[in-house]
Symmetry: C2
Subunit: 342 residues, 2 copies
């Protein structure tokens, strides 16, 4: 049985009312608040159908209806239009993000901004090393057998590692190594570097090859293995809004999950190459068991059309999807512009 237009209207109205009031919504209240031009009895029939189809359910007999995860999904996919941001929100975004002094600052400001605007928990992944490219590599001699390797990515992120050299190397040679490395790797995307690093060792003059090999090992670690994705989090206090009614009783598992970086990365960092797409995961669509009572809205961001990281918000399934989606998308776009300006 397919749903006719009025039934869809009813579902939309139920979702909107429930999100707004956080209370099961009944047929009478629906006709009153939305100008559906039929009687409550008719709505009741429609509701019965929607319930059969699994879009809504009754917490108990003699209560109103509540959307199911499936209902929210239909709502998000078909029944809602992305809410344009208010001018006030736009201004808030701009005001918040201008004046960031460096990359870390941008990320911290962004995560707070997101939490504040959406009134949910916000998560922002620091620009991932693996998706950015090398701006510069620097070798800083610390002693005759130790060199500090500093890598600067085009996103502004900096990584440093200490390298033990097998034999002492005079400073001029260190400079030559540096030049060789920069010529080979400068401007390359990190994902593409491993074979180049390999070449690098082979092309090095014999006398310095051992040293270059040592550097290469660390380089590979830094560039690839140690992806070490950092994450910023804000707005956990928003979990307590609306009592503990959301989240079926306990905040515990959610707070625990939020402390696991791996979990967060899975949520917002998954491979989505297109930064203009905003993903929505509703309730049990979520793969992390303890977050089955939450919805996640996430997107990628980065300068131009590339993606260097993810960001998103997490909240109860009962959330304002159109508004939140709009906010997340807009913030991601602004941050992308800021990154592009460097």
């Amino acid at each position: 049985m397919s749903l006719d237009d009025r039934k869809l209207d009813v579902l939309r109205a139920i979702v909107q009312d429930y999100v707004a009031t956080q209370e099961p919504v009944g047929s009478k209240a629906l006709v009153e608040r939305h100008h559906l031009r039929v009687s409550p009895a008719t709505i009741r029939n429609d509701m019965a159908v929607l319930e059969d189809e699994g879009y809504i359910r009754q917490p108990h007999t003699s209560a109103g209806r509540v959307p199911t995860d499936r209902g929210y999904r239909l709502f998000v996919d078909k029944l809602s239009r992305i809410k344009p941001l208010t001018p006030a929100e736009r201004r808030a975004i701009e005001r918040f993000l201008v004046g960031a002094v460096d990359l870390d600052d941008v990320v911290h400001r962004t995560v707070r901004l997101l939490a504040q605007l959406t009134r949910q928990v916000a998560v922002v992944q620091f620009p991932s090393l693996s998706r950015s490219s090398v701006r510069h590599l620097e070798l800083v001699p610390v002693s005759t057998t130790r060199v500090m390797l500093v890598m600067i990515a085009d996103t502004g992120r900096v990584e440093q590692r200490l390298v033990e050299l097998p034999t002492p190397i005079p400073e001029p040679d260190v400079l030559r190594l540096r030049t060789a490395i920069n010529e080979k790797l400068g401007g390359q995307r990190l994902v593409d570097t491993p074979p180049l690093v390999q070449d690098l060792v082979e092309e090095t003059e014999v006398g310095l090859r051992a040293a270059m090999a040592a550097l290469a090992t660390v380089l590979l670690e830094t560039l690839v293995e140690r992806t070490e994705e950092r994450i910023a989090l804000a707005g956990t206090a928003n979990l307590t809004r609306g009592g503990i009614l959301d989240f079926q009783g306990s905040l515990r598992p959610i707070l625990e999950a939020l402390e696991e970086e791996v979990v967060l990365l899975k949520l917002i960092g998954s491979a989505e190459p297109d930064p203009t797409v905003t993903r929505v995961l509703i309730g049990d669509e979520n793969e992390i068991e303890h977050l089955r009572a939450t919805s996640v809205i996430s997107t990628g961001y980065g300068p131009g059309s590339t993606v260097v990281g993810g960001m998103g918000v997490l909240g109860p399934t009962r959330m304002d999807y159109p508004g939140t989606i709009a906010t997340v998308s807009a913030v991601a776009r602004y941050v992308g512009e800021i990154l592009a300006q460097n």
Copy 2:
């Protein structure tokens, strides 16, 4: 009226029982569980006195007694002995902290360890720049008018900033600037650098002085103003243990306070020069209004007898003070040893 020994015993017993059971403790239960060799009626008299003196109170008539903040304070100061760690705990600490690859890793492991051992919220301040000294300063040319300034502190912490130069500077000159800066500032404690930076500009040859001035500005920001103390946090999920009974109802203000770095720094980072001292703030002794229902146990840490940062835990006033104090002290000591090994 001064308290005789038995009254102190009674207070100690009340604190212990209440911490263990989280329920108001009555006179009868008290005589049964502790071998006080008197009758419940006697204990009741003692309790009445303790209540008059403000060490305990009754949630309501016909309920047992609960320690007040003042009662906990007396308990901590006079009535408890620091619990020695169990061998299992010692082993846990060692196992957790060996294998840390760099400074960030040490801090992250530490904060998790603390949260896990104490079952409270743990906070660790990253080694503060202002209390450490300069190991090396590096200038990396990014373009002809932009230089990346990288500072490496002796704690292993790295800070970087992008500097706009007023005029293009050829690379060899950048190297000379670098040398000059390093000679002047290398090995200096950060607190001592500001006057040196001043000298630096004056001693620079005229042609480069404008560039050096630009660098100096950023240097000062980096070294001093932007102390930007980073903080690691873990174990927020522990706030939900024991229901919401602790924290008089709402986690909200606590979660909010925990997101304010400034607040956290005030809590654990305050000026305590002696790393062997562990501070205990109980309930309303706390200066942050929203944390009046919590206790904070904190200490400084650092290599040897210097302090480069603070760490601590935060929990309900109803907490195991002797055990928690012991754990925090021990962890801080171990971390200090690890830092000293570099």
